[in-house]
Symmetry: C2
Subunit: 201 residues, 2 copies
DNA sequence: GTCTATACACCGATAGAC
DNA sequence: GTCTATCGGTGTATAGAC
């Protein structure tokens, strides 16, 4: 590790922290575990970042950014709103299933940030991001299907995030694939009920 | 603290732990903090309970039981399904708002249990409880309003829990009362769409 | 049975050798 | 600049005095 800029180390530490948290949980993500994952000596930690909490701020940003790139893949190709939503939610749950620890890490980070004065502003920003992301997906879907939403898109976006969060929490808890699929079914009905044919070009 | 049965101490410790977790978070709920809250010497801890994780098991049971008694108060008195659901969800969110730490404690405990081999079975049990509770409320509501649900009650119950979890997470993160109220509005529409007039007596 | 005093591991953070 | 070695503090858990 000779001559690596501080910013680069900082990014490497954030990535390593993300890996440790996804695999072993936030409580196990000690400075020692993080530098071990990154293959760095312990002292590099406080050389690159001022405190553990400060690094967790970077990790949240990293996780949110990744969620953003993953979201694009959930845009479905279907002919009805109900089917498109169902495909998107199913794709999302598959994503959770493929790496549950990573999704759980998001919740652990949010809860921890809410309890940490120095990080208490993060969760609001995090959810602002999710809501904006969901709004974008809803707009894109409406455009592709020539429909419009009967309530303001930001409101429907919040409902969509509400549903994905709740879906994820319950699935993490009981790993009941069949029940989750049925919830996706009824959730798709619920959201599709806010779709109507577009009247404006 | 002379001559208090072990079972009673155990219950007192669980209650104290619940208080500490709600106020300061799970990470702050050390054995020292818990016995201080309970007004006991440190050694009483391992006299009454074998380990901290074992006590957390009791705490989860306590929290779930309390959620059960609180749930009854959410049964609304309205004439339409939509209004009844809206009142119930609004009542639930008021409950969260009145003691956010307590609701956050539930999430923290679930996430921690998922990461702890000895407690990994708890979350499934916890959600089984929530789903049963929601089923009971839906049955009672249907009976009071002379309606029936167009999908199986357990499935609708899971959707209801999905919505309350998601609603709570987002509100904890951004404390946006107005946005949460709008989410309750659309969520009520969504659930009410599964109500229809009862055909059987 | 109950509590004081303490063992021992590990935490975040840093001083000081190279 | 980079790392080894270590500090002060706190965690869970217990030994041993009363």
């Amino acid at each position: 590790m000779t001559r690596i800029p501080a910013a680069e180390r900082r990014a490497a530490l954030a990535a390593a922290a993300r890996t440790v948290i996804a695999r072993d949980g936030l409580a196990a993500a000690t400075t020692r575990a993080i530098v071990a994952e990154a293959g760095m000596p312990l002292a590099s930690f406080h050389y690159a970042v001022s405190s553990r909490d400060e690094l967790l701020r970077d990790v949240v940003e990293l996780v949110v950014a990744d969620e953003g790139t993953a979201a694009a893949s959930f845009l479905a190709t279907a002919t009805t709103a109900r089917e498109a939503i169902k495909q998107a939610l199913t794709g999302y749950l598959d994503h959770v299933r493929s790496d549950p620890g990573n999704e759980q890490a998001m919740f652990e980070l949010t809860q921890y940030a809410l309890r940490t004065p120095h990080l208490a502003d993060l969760p609001a920003e995090q959810y602002r991001s999710y809501h904006a992301l969901a709004s974008g997906l809803l707009e894109a879907g409406a455009s592709a299907l020539s429909i419009e939403w009967s309530i303001p898109v930001p409101d429907l976006a919040r409902l969509l995030v509400t549903l994905t969060d709740g879906l994820t929490l319950a699935w993490l808890a009981d790993r009941d694939d069949a029940a989750a699929a049925r919830t996706i079914d009824s959730a798709s009905d619920a959201i599709a009920a806010f779709a109507r044919e577009a009247v404006t070009a």
